[in-house]
């Protein structure tokens, strides 16, 4: 029979865990309110920036695109057939755990995007508003690269694929764990300890990682990341830059999202029905775009970090309040059990006494 002492001890430990989860819930809740306010006041700025980019890009005459960040798909293919490009990804996740599936969802999405090899059907169905052009770029390059020289990134995929089929091992597992060929074509920037350790374990080339900033992002870091991305991109070694973060929809709904930051492919924006009206650039197109486009990247990264922070805290809030509820339920069950055992003990004792009294007669 269960020991009363043991049950009491268990109840006490569940209760103290409940106290902790409850405290974490409240901390997350107050931080979440702050994070949501910052996010909400940032959203209009980011959406206006997006609108402007959309308008400029749809009006942009491809031939006059004299900024290194803007090109047509054909130009991209031409440039890449000469050099051997890599893909750069920015993954924004959490520093700390205990936030439900927050980090693992982002990382899952990151793997889907990073491992996209043109074979699996488009995972995130192409909705009109999506800014994930990585798959399009990849497909275009793949189609163009059939006759010519292949990219290291794609060669890696091909090798990984062959090895996978030979050993009949799961292809995605082969790719995920330390497949040097495939990883060669990837560079990563990670924000958040969880993302860093996840990708480091799997042997990815992390060129820069940030920790300790996921909950309270500051523009300063976004600028730093943007500068690094621009620098890498301008070196000519990078084909495209895609950011994977968690979009905060509401306190109970956060979805992972991908945004391709660079390059801006005019084909993707060209709306067929738009009237072409060229922009005037003051003082001139090169200097305005070279100031504006890097700034846009920092803006987008900062926005994504704010989305990430709000998502992380709301996930933690949900996880912790669930944990508190579960602990409450467990305490209730244990109490019931405890009382049953106690009752059984008393009944037993009475039986013994009655039995003893009867025996004396």
């Amino acid at each position: 029979m269960a020991n009363l002492q043991n049950i009491r001890r268990r109840i006490r430990s569940v209760k103290s865990i409940q106290k902790i989860t409850n405290a974490m819930d409240m901390i997350a809740r107050s931080r979440f309110n702050a994070a949501r306010d910052t996010l909400l006041s940032n959203i209009p700025y980011v959406s206006k920036t997006r609108e402007i980019i959309k308008r400029i890009m749809s009006q942009m005459n491809a031939s006059e695109a004299s900024s290194p960040f803007v090109m047509t798909r054909q130009e991209l293919i031409d440039a890449q057939s000469r050099t051997d490009g890599k893909f750069l990804f920015l993954v924004i996740a959490a520093d700390k755990g205990l936030a439900g599936a927050y980090s693992s969802n982002v990382i899952k999405e990151a793997h889907e995007t990073i491992e996209y090899d043109g074979t699996s059907p488009s995972v995130s169905a192409a909705d009109e508003d999506s800014e994930n052009f990585h798959q399009k770029i990849f497909d275009a390059l793949k189609n163009a690269g059939v006759d010519g020289e292949q990219l290291s990134a794609q060669k890696g995929f091909a090798k990984a694929g062959r090895r996978g089929s030979k050993t009949t091992a799961n292809l995605s597992v082969a790719k995920e764990y330390n497949d040097a060929d495939y990883i060669e074509g990837i560079e990563l920037i990670t924000v958040g300890r969880k993302a860093t350790s996840h990708f480091k374990q799997r042997g990815y080339n992390i060129i820069k990682s940030y920790s300790g900033i996921s909950e309270r992002p500051s523009y300063h870091y976004a600028k730093e990341i943007a500068d690094l991305i621009v620098e890498r991109f301008l070196s000519g070694e990078i084909i495209d830059v895609t950011m994977i973060y968690t979009r905060f929809n509401s306190a109970i709904s956060c979805t992972p999202d991908d945004v391709t930051l660079l390059p801006l492919i005019t084909d993707d924006y060209a709306a067929s029905d738009a009237v072409k009206e060229e922009y005037i650039y003051e003082p001139d197109v090169v200097s305005v775009l070279n100031d504006f486009l890097p700034r846009r990247i920092a803006t987008r990264i900062y926005g994504a970090m704010l989305h990430g922070a709000a998502s992380e805290l709301s996930s933690r809030m949900n996880a912790m309040s669930n944990a508190t509820d579960n602990a409450q339920e467990l305490v209730g069950k244990l109490n019931l059990y405890y009382n049953k055992v106690r009752q059984a003990g008393i009944t037993n004792e009475i039986n013994e006494i009655v039995g003893g009294a009867n025996a004396l007669e």
Partner: protein, 141 residues
């Protein structure tokens, strides 16, 4: 008379201003610009300076701390690094910021010990502080 929509947004305050106006005067990196309704499409960088908004006979000021402006025939969008309506501005704080920036610049001129980046930052801060004071109708020179 036709009007043009003005939207001013900043990263930390969200939408600061959103209304239909008659004319907007800004100071861009290429000089002063006046924007009337049905202006051609334009994209330019703004300097830290008050923007002047004309509606009918009245004129109002908004302090903009640099940023970008996009003009379409129907709408002007200003992506400001910071933007404040006159009632949001704390004059004492702006004065203090101005003094701090001026001291730093003077220290640099006399001793040259501050780094160049710090001076650029101080100059930008000074321009922002001046823009704020101008919006409050306080002469800055």
């Amino acid at each position: 008379m036709a009007t043009i929509r003005l939207e001013v947004v900043s990263p930390d305050r969200g939408s600061v201003l959103s209304k239909d106006i008659d004319m907007l005067i800004v100071r861009s990196t290429a000089g002063e610009l006046g924007i009337l309704p049905r202006h051609a499409r334009l994209l330019t960088e703004l300097l830290p300076y008050p923007i002047r908004i004309k509606e009918g006979a009245s004129e109002s000021l908004v302090a903009v701390g640099g940023g970008f402006m996009e003009v379409t025939p129907e709408q002007i969008t200003i992506l400001a690094d910071s933007a404040e309506l006159p009632e949001m501005i704390d004059v004492d704080r702006a004065q203090a910021a101005r003094k701090r920036a001026e001291d730093r610049i003077n220290a640099h001129k006399s001793s040259g010990k501050e780094s160049l980046i710090d001076i650029h930052r101080a100059e930008a801060a000074l321009a922002r502080a001046k823009a704020r004071l101008l919006v409050k109708n306080i002469p800055v020179n």
